[in-house]
């Protein structure tokens, strides 16, 4: 059994900001069904270009859910430049640490953030096609989309 911190458990059992912002300003989707983890992040900006609201949906293990929840809490009130600097280590630190085998689950949050910002800035297609998004299996997001459609 994984050694999760109390804070990780709390963010898993009571995740903050679950959902989808319909009139989002930015959206980022990363992950792989193959490794049991996928994350969809949406955010809305306020008039000062700070993140007013952020929501996530996660298909994933407890640490993926907790990491997503933590990330959405952490980025609220930040400018996009500030949010872009949040690393997966920051997310893990916020949770009081993650088991090392589970560190990559927090990478997803960071990657989703990056993509959501790119979307907002109109750079969305920059490096998305066939990008390897999951360390576990080397599965690309194209494959995921296909898998979702095929198996859905």
């Amino acid at each position: 059994m994984w050694d999760y911190t109390d804070k990780t458990k709390d963010h898993f059992l009571n995740p903050r900001n679950v959902g989808f912002i319909d009139d989002f300003d930015g959206i980022g989707e990363v992950g792989s069904l193959a490794c049991g983890d996928a994350l969809k992040l949406t955010f809305k900006l306020d008039e000062n270009e700070r993140i007013a609201d952020a929501k996530f949906q996660t298909f994933g293990c407890a640490s993926a859910i907790a990491s997503s929840s933590a990330l959405t809490e952490m980025i609220k009130g930040l400018t996009l430049d500030e949010a872009a600097k949040v690393t997966n280590e920051d997310i893990a630190d916020y949770l009081g640490g993650l088991p090392k085998e589970k560190m990559h689950c927090s990478v997803m949050g960071r990657d989703a953030m990056e993509k959501a910002i790119a979307y907002y800035r109109g750079e969305a297609e920059k490096k998305i096609d066939g990008e390897i998004v999951c360390e576990c299996f080397g599965v690309t997001d194209k494959q995921i989309e296909r898998a979702v459609k095929e198996n859905g």
Partner: protein, 389 residues
Amino acid sequence: METVYVDNNATTRVAPEVVEAMTPYFSDFYGNPSSMHAFGGSVGAKLKTAREQVASLLGALPEEIVFTSCGTESDSTAIHAALQSNPDKRHIITTRVEHPAVKNLVEHLGKIGYRTTFVPVDRQGRLDLDFLYDRLSDDTAIVSVMWANNETGTIFPVEEIARKVRQRGIVFHTDAVQAVGKVPIDMGDSAIDMLSLSGHKLHAPKGIGALYVRKGTKFAPFLMGGHQEGGRRAGTENSASIIGLGRAAQLATEWMDEENSRVRAFRDKLESELLKRVPASMVNGDPENRLPNTTSIAFEYIEGEAILLLMDQHGICASSGSACTSGSLEPSHVLRAMGVPFTAAHGSIRFSLSIYNTEEEIDFIIDKMPPIIERLRQMSPFWREGQFA
């Protein structure tokens, strides 16, 4: 909070009767059964009884039982024995859905120069028997097919395969770790040469197992050293645990009917109610040929670890994939071999019951599962998409 334990394919409660049988052999009758004094010798007599009890559960002869330290050791011993006694043969056949104790070993042997064949299964987890029979050759040293799968409970036609394999003069081994104690076994009327079992799957303690080796089967020890177990397994006999396994074998005989009636009925109720109450859920495996205590249910679009941890909040203990591999992040190799889609494989939960389960526990699980699944699906980015796909 009460624990509701439905993870008996991972490990079982040691029966209090077994603990009672073992306890005197720790601090009171602790002598070495191989010793030349009555104090140790009397333990030797108890081991003889235990060997008879295990033999009797299998319909075997006492001298066909070799005690080992676990199911994994039994599997390793069987495969090594076949390879060592047939040094000219370099081919091993097994299946794609074996426990890692066989699968990882055969994969390793493949890397060091053996030729290996992994027989595929269909979407229901049924073996492709023609594929297997076609691959039998004069170079085949051993065919190893599990009796029942630990994740889905699917029972394989090992007796039928063993007969075909024997006709070709090839050794047949079965990993019966999940079958022993759950379904009747009679080696007296069988073509199987070797059979593995593990104590902790049938209410004996962890750290004790046995390998059945048919009289006349060529054998070579895996653990070398002292002359214990008739030279077939070295190391001071684990007397307390062997005695416990003997008692557990006796209990398994007594409990066999209950396992196949009451436990089966509970499993069936759990399964049909969950399928009814939870949309987009389905059973993994062959519903026709299945262990009476096991059901593997795929809850689509969500992930197994998250489900287990929420179940854990209610004290419900189950498993996703096999416990051995749950440390890893990959979806179960068994479900992948069956072609279960990733969205379903990831959210598959194995419920495995035992005679200790009560109807209240089953009802409790039936009550708690649907909201857990619903809650996680609300978080899942695939759930809505899935519904409309």
